[in-house]
């Protein structure tokens, strides 16, 4: 009798678990990330994997044949613009056709092809760490676009990124861990656990910064920019860094960018000194807010104005990149 009860209890638990996984196929279904063999990023998602995410925004789509969030597969076709960045650029929080990369391709209407290898966890130093391999692999003919949501990095990370020795983000893609990650409800539980322990959001690199030594910081940043400039000259593709700060609410309906001035000034000047194109999206975001009260970050199911880029953010970035590239092309053609 007691044994029957125990069996019923276990079977009911298993049945409920199955139902929960079916629900999670829609609510939170994230592929497993796997170490890339090419080294263009530390990892990529499973190839052709379907994803859906309703925990932050409402995003869905299918990864391409390389495990990146692109509408098209990569079949060695020429890439004009290579986009590198973090989860902000990856854009799994919005429908796949609404990411900045997809919208940029729409704006170019076939004249140029932008390929997005933005992927979660890849902050600016990690991008610099992988950039040469990525350039060599994709051979972008015109631009390499680097996204960053922060201008504060640890000096050690920057120094290591120049040498390509920055510790790579590990993937738990072998045997049991791989199969556990294939279970959507367990992924959701893991996400909840990470939120619970305070690691659920984006890990800002500023967490590693202990103290701000302006001189040392400036030197390290300049070294990174010099390296980027060197790569740009070597491979014949311009480097564009665009920064997209969060907006913060002030009193009386005023809004401003959430940036530490000292860092932003250093970053901007370092870009200028080293011929790296720098785009600060702050003005564009603030203008959009002043005109139509639209914020670039945050979703209808999260804190207002916080977290990842929403559809508007992706749209504004795509428009701004399109505009900046066109301006430069016109200037080049005049010369």
């Amino acid at each position: 009798m007691r044994q029957n009860k125990a069996v019923k209890f276990i079977l009911a638990g298993i049945t409920a678990f199955l139902f929960l996984n079916i629900l999670c196929l829609v609510y939170y279904n994230i592929p497993v990330h796997i170490t890339t063999q090419t080294g263009v990023t530390d990892y990529a998602w499973e190839k052709h994997a379907f994803y859906s995410k309703m925990t932050e925004g409402f995003g869905y789509g299918k990864m391409n044949n390389e495990g990146f969030n692109n509408l098209r597969n990569y079949n060695k076709q020429p890439v004009d613009i290579l986009i590198m960045g973090s989860s902000q650029m990856e854009g799994t929080n919005v429908p796949q056709n609404k990411t900045a990369a997809a919208l940029l391709n729409e704006l170019f209407n076939g004249l140029k092809y932008a390929y997005n290898i933005g992927i979660s966890g890849h902050d600016f130093p990690h991008i610099v760490n992988n950039i040469e391999t990525a350039i060599q692999y994709y051979k972008p003919s015109e631009y390499i676009v680097i996204e960053t949501g922060s201008m504060q990095f640890s000096i050690q990370d920057m120094e290591e990124s120049i040498n390509g020795t920055l510790k790579r983000i590990p993937s738990y893609d072998s045997k049991i861990m791989f199969f556990l990650q294939k279970i959507p409800y367990l992924r959701l539980l893991y996400l909840q656990y990470r939120h619970f322990t305070g690691n659920g959001g984006e890990n800002g690199p500023e967490q590693n910064i202990i103290a701000f030594d302006k001189e040392k910081y400036s030197t390290a940043l300049d070294a990174v920019m010099k390296r980027l400039h060197q790569l740009s000259t070597e491979y014949g593709a311009g480097i564009i860094i665009f920064y997209h700060p969060h907006l913060v609410f002030g009193g009386g309906g005023l809004i401003s960018e959430d940036t530490v001035y000292e860092y932003s000034a250093l970053f901007k000047n370092s870009c200028l000194r080293n011929d790296v194109i720098f785009i600060n999206m702050a003005d564009c975001f603030i203008e959009e807010y002043n005109n139509s009260y639209i914020l670039p970050h945050g979703f209808s199911n999260t804190v207002i104005g916080a977290g990842h880029l929403n559809r508007n953010g992706h749209r504004l970035i795509a428009n701004e990149l399109f505009r900046q590239i066109n301006i430069r092309e016109k200037a080049d053609s005049i010369q």
Binding site: A16, Y185, N301
Partner: protein, 484 residues
């Protein structure tokens, strides 16, 4: 240690296991069970701050001595007064002293006033009211005097209701201590389901709504009137789900341990008028205020004018009970005015006779009348919640003005508000349908209590638990009513 914390789950599991041990014959003594529950309750309370335990002990000793002396010499009012004054003085010092001093200084422009550097003990308003009601009930002979200190201390400190109610009457709880109550399979199955129901209300619905509400109430100047209206609706659902969720968890916990508490909410948002709302909202507080404040003041026995004054006093103090802030006082005052207005309306305009002969037409008319009555009541209640939630009059005023003048700003249609409205509507409709099936036709809320011996019921229960864990808001968000 809140009900939705991991530490509470560990604590509660240990308590349940220890209580199970007391089922073994050699340990099976009522006194031992009560002592264990008392120790657990003091541990639970001491988790916040061990010093609070002494405060509760002082209150208990005061109530114990007063009640025994009242029982011995009912004609000597000294012990009655001391039994009332001591808890009120403690409550006054800890909760209202700084508020009154700062308000007085502000009114008379006095600077450099001294304030007490004390923290508000969690749930002080709840256990103070329980201790008061016990002393008064003994005096009124509505409750027997409790000569066993442990049992009285357990009544005042019983952890399921300790920090946020419901406010349990001695006459309801003490008799339960005379019975052989302990953890058993049936009670546990029911209790755990009621607890889960409350947990869902709190950590899934209320906490997610708080994200939006906090955003909007922090900087209302940024938001469009639509967002502000949604935030007010969201808050009205949040506070209901938060507080009724806590009450459900308290009721569920007590049930697991073998004790019964009465419901604290009965679908307040289906009220057709404000009087009905107060019969359905925080029932244990409303009935406490009515019995120990409104009726002793004279209730409605001394003419209309006194009835209105008594109403106002009760509601103003009820407002102040919620917190030491002028906004709470104003909130209570507006509710008091509304209760008076409703009474006047009822006196002047008795319900119209039913002149419509056709039964179906009469039903339709009645439905339309009810619908608008519920709508108007909810509009008023929501309006009052603005005052309740806003940290100052200026914030509340800003929100009201921005809504009235239909100001532009950020439009945020928060998806959890939509989900919460759907959950609330479906639960309400289900409760109404269930009520129609009963003989009395009265709604009395409902708990979805499944028969966990059936396979599919067990599956649904596990699914529900899985959803709670998966959808829970995992940031820190204390219960709103803890501050009271």
């Amino acid at each position: 240690m809140t009900f939705s914390s991991i530490s509470f789950f560990i604590f509660f599991t240990v308590v349940i296991l220890v209580m199970l041990v007391t089922k073994i014959k050699i340990f099976s003594k009522r006194k031992l069970r009560h002592t264990i529950l008392l120790v657990a309750s003091y541990l639970f309370y001491g988790w916040w701050n061990w010093r609070f335990c002494f405060l509760m002990l002082v209150l208990t000793v005061a109530a114990y001595i007063s009640a025994i002396q009242i029982d011995r010499k009912p004609e000597n009012k000294f012990y009655l007064y001391s039994g009332i004054i001591i808890p009120l003085v403690i409550l006054g010092i800890f909760k209202y002293f700084n508020f009154f001093v700062s308000s007085f200084a502000e009114i008379f422009g006095i600077h450099n006033t001294n304030s007490l550097n004390i923290i508000l003990p969690v749930g002080i308003s709840f256990y103070t009211f329980q201790s008061l009601s016990y002393t008064i009930d003994v005096y009124r002979k509505k409750s027997r005097v409790e000569k066993n200190f442990i049992r009285l201390a357990l009544y005042i400190s019983f952890f399921p209701q300790l920090v946020a109610g419901p406010i349990v009457r001695a006459s309801d709880f003490l008799p339960q201590l005379d019975e052989e109550r302990n953890v058993n399979s049936n009670n546990f199955k029911t209790g755990i389901q009621i607890f889960s129901f409350g947990l869902f209300k709190k950590i899934v619905v209320a906490d997610w709504l708080s994200v939006f509400v906090d955003n909007v109430f922090r900087t209302p100047g940024m938001f469009h009137a639509i967002s502000l209206i949604l935030a007010v609706i969201a808050y009205s659902i949040q506070i209901y789900f938060d507080f009724s969720g806590y009450s459900d968890m308290a009721i569920g916990c007590a049930k697991c341990l073998g004790y019964d508490f009465a419901r604290n909410f009965n679908l307040p948002y289906i009220s057709g008028n404000i009087t009905e709302f107060w019969r359905r909202w925080h029932i244990s507080l409303s009935s406490w205020l009515k019995e120990y404040l409104y009726i002793p003041l004279g209730g409605n026995r001394k003419g209309n004018a006194r009835t209105y004054i008594n109403n106002m006093i009760t509601m103003l103090l009820g407002g102040l009970w919620h917190g030491a802030n002028w906004t709470f006082l104003a909130w209570g005052g507006i509710h008091g005015i509304a209760l008076c207005v409703h009474k006047i309306y009822k006196d002047i305009l008795p319900p119209p006779p039913n002149t419509v002969r056709h039964i179906f037409a009469a039903k339709i008319l009645n439905f339309i009348r009810c619908f608008f009555a519920v709508l108007l009541t909810n509009l008023f209640v929501c309006f009052c919640w603005i005052l309740f939630r806003a940290d100052s009059f200026s914030t509340a005023g800003q929100i009201i003005i921005r809504i009235i003048t239909w100001q532009n700003g950020i439009i945020q249609i928060y998806s959890w508000v939509v989900a919460a409205i759907l959950i609330l509507l479906s639960a309400t409709i289900t409760a109404i349908i269930r009520a129609y099936r009963t003989k009395s036709g009265e709604t009395n809320g409902f708990y979805v209590v499944l028969d966990l011996s059936k396979f599919w019921h067990l599956v649904i229960f596990f699914l529900f638990i899985g959803l709670i864990i998966g959808l829970a808001f995992v940031g820190t968000n204390p219960f709103i009513y803890f501050q009271f």
